[in-house]
């Protein structure tokens, strides 16, 4: 059984207009998303900005009011607040945010920031609590003098590691990492990502890793879901997505990864333009009349793509031929 099962999740925001501010329409930020996260794995959620991936992440932590659909955890639907309370849900599920500075209360010391989740769920004595905070700081490689500092006194990488320490404080089963490294420079990105991997190995944590950086996702994730316009367009293992992409949106994302090999620069450019051409010409094939993605169909046990059945089969066999 999966750790968490997200089924047909929808988050719509009302658009109000007119004199009486009546609800006239809605923004479909997340529009029918289903996927499962297994224990101990890193699940990647990829998409362009505005595709609804952060909203999905926030819904999983319980920060967002869900319009419809369910998120099952330990047999209960945690989109309902009373179920979250019953399970001490946020003891098991924590979140890491993109902006490490603004997401920490500027007037609280690191000690209080990291200890707060402990104070919510575990009633430790003062000394035990301090010991635990020191352990956590040690795990993420910060010194004990960090305890009495304020968030603005740290560098971006250190702050993000504080965010990681804060998230793992309660020994959670699942951490939602919402673009945890996109605000950091590359060397620090690697540092934070490796900390996250190390912690995963030690404590058996699952991650829902939200990112638009396909390189980072490839480094981190076992299973990946590609999101576009509030829907999933492709789900698969790392191999499925990176080596056998089927949906045009996935192909475009992959084509957009910069190539470091100078010699093949022209070839890369040509293939990118070819993909773009296909996208421009065959929009109607990949998206339905409203511009939304189709429902997912399974092409292999691990790989699913949002296309009509026939086209999916056809593309899959093409992809298979190429591979053979």
């Amino acid at each position: 059984m999966s750790l968490i099962e997200i089924k047909d999740l929808k988050v719509h925001y009302p658009i109000r207009s007119g004199f009486w501010n009546r609800i006239t329409d809605s923004v479909r930020a997340v529009d029918g998303v289903s996927f499962n996260i297994e224990a101990g794995e890193t699940y990647g959620l990829v998409g362009e900005s505005g595709s609804g991936k952060s909203t999905t992440g926030k819904s999983v932590v319980g920060l967002e009011k869900v319009t419809s659909g369910s998120i099952m955890y330990k047999g209960l639907d945690i989109t309902k607040a009373e179920n979250r309370r019953k399970l001490d849900y946020n003891h098991d599920v924590q979140m890491i945010f993109q902006d490490s500075l603004s997401s920490l209360n500027p007037r609280k010391r690191i000690e209080d920031i990291i200890a707060e989740p402990l104070r919510n769920f575990e009633h430790l004595s003062k000394d035990d609590e301090k010991l635990r905070v020191l352990q956590l700081l040690n795990i993420v490689g910060l010194d004990a003098d960090a305890l009495y500092k304020y968030p603005h006194q740290f560098s971006g990488g250190q702050r993000q590691r504080i965010g990681v320490a804060r998230a793992v404080a309660t020994n959670p089963k699942l951490i939602i990492a919402d673009e945890p490294v996109s605000a950091l420079d590359l060397s620090v990105q690697a540092q934070v990502l490796n900390f996250m991997k190390k912690i995963q190995r030690e404590f058996g944590i699952s991650y829902l890793f939200i990112s638009h950086d396909l390189g980072v996702v490839r480094h981190m994730c076992n299973n990946i879901a590609i999101m576009n316009r509030g829907r999933l367009v492709e789900i698969g293992t790392r191999d499925d997505i990176y080596n056998h992409p089927l949906h045009i949106y996935t192909k475009r994302l992959l084509a957009a990864i910069p190539e470091t090999d100078v010699n093949s620069r022209e070839a890369h450019r040509a293939s990118r333009l070819a993909v773009e051409q296909v996208y421009q010409d065959q929009q109607s094939k990949y998206y339905d009349d409203n511009g939304a993605a189709y429902p997912l169909v399974q092409v292999t046990p691990t790989h699913a793509v949002a296309l009509p059945q026939t086209i999916a089969q056809q593309l899959a066999s093409q992809e298979g031929e190429v591979q053979a």
């Binding site: 979140m95 945010f97 997401s103």
Partner: protein
């Protein structure tokens, strides 16, 4: 922390000196003299001339200032021309009255305004928020002395619930009775001042609460699983309190200035009433002493604000 306070205190010294010079010169620049009106109109102008001369009123301003400062340090602010008694004794008796009234009003104001502000911010756009906003604006729009006059008329004369003059009833005996009587006398002006003086605090606090309600660190706190009431108590309220704390000190001075209205309407024997009286009698010594005291209280108010701020927000302590 003590360093911050000490440094802040040292800055006050030049401020007080400049203030005292200004106060002194402005008092000198006022038209009229203390004798023309109060002495028998048939008095010889030469006699008045002589009185002014022996009182040092013809000396150059710096000499008069210097005399004044030297006397000041001896605790001697001169004699009131009107009451013919030392200014220090005159003010000392009334300062306590004014301070009690101001303190009482301030405590009541915060007691009303803080819950209202947080509640309005928390339920932004809902009915309770609208009611609180309308209430604060309406109270803000009515001039304070109008409220005082209407209040004293309804509750003092028509309903007769509260005394309308004085600070203590004449037959009060015993510690408890005295205290009760004093409290009874400041109850109505205090309540009126508090109920109709909430607008600043409520509006500031409300907008601060709305701001921090949507900030990222509150989102973080929610994702940590902090219960909603603790989020409001530990994260939102504390951070929103900053601007309120910033003008807590100033609000004391605001109340002292407001006391001029309150005390005049309620014939409450405090510094405000004394101030108004001494202006109409051109009682220079009392005026200068009172303006100086009000000025120093203003400075202390800002000092208090700074100290409160540095307690609430550790980032702004003077290094």
């Amino acid at each position: 922390m003590w360093k911050t306070i000490l440094r802040r205190f040292l800055i006050m010294i030049p401020e007080v000196i400049v203030l005292s010079i200004l106060v002194f010169l402005l008092a000198k620049a006022m038209p009229g003299d203390p004798f023309t009106g109060s002495i028998n109109p048939k008095a010889d102008p030469a006699q008045i001339h002589h009185l002014m001369k022996i009182n040092g009123l013809y000396d150059p301003w710096y000499q008069q200032y210097w005399n004044w400062v030297v006397h000041l340090f001896h605790g001697n602010l001169g004699n009131s021309y009107q009451y013919q008694e030392p200014v220090t004794r005159l003010i000392g008796g009334r300062a306590a009255n004014t301070l009690w009234l101001a303190l009482f009003t301030m405590i009541l104001t915060y007691a009303f305004a803080l819950p209202m502000g947080v509640y309005a911010g928390r339920h932004e756009g809902k009915l309770p928020d609208t009611i609180i906003r309308v209430y604060t604006y309406v109270t803000y729009c009515i001039p304070f002395f109008v409220i005082l006059v209407i209040g004293i008329w309804i509750f003092g004369y028509v309903l007769g619930w509260f005394p309308t003059t004085g600070s203590i009833s004449s037959d009060a005996t015993g510690w408890l009775h005295t205290f009760g009587s004093r409290f009874y006398h400041i109850l109505l002006p205090g309540l009126l001042g508090a109920l109709f003086g909430t607008v600043n605090i409520v509006q500031y606090l409300r907008s601060e609460v709305i701001d921090s309600k949507h900030s990222d660190y509150v989102r973080t706190a929610r994702s940590k699983g902090v219960p909603s009431k603790d989020i409001y108590r530990h994260h939102i309220f504390r951070n929103s309190l900053l601007p309120i704390a910033a003008f807590a000190g100033y609000s004391i001075t605001g109340l002292l200035n407001g006391s001029i209205f309150t005390e005049t309407v309620f014939s409450y024997p405090g510094m405000g009433l004394l101030f108004v009286n001494s202006i109409s009698y051109r009682d220079y010594t009392v005026i200068t002493a009172l303006v100086l005291i009000y000025g120093i209280l203003n400075l202390i108010g800002t000092l208090l604000s700074d100290i409160i701020l540095s307690i609430v927000d550790p980032r702004i302590r003077i290094q």
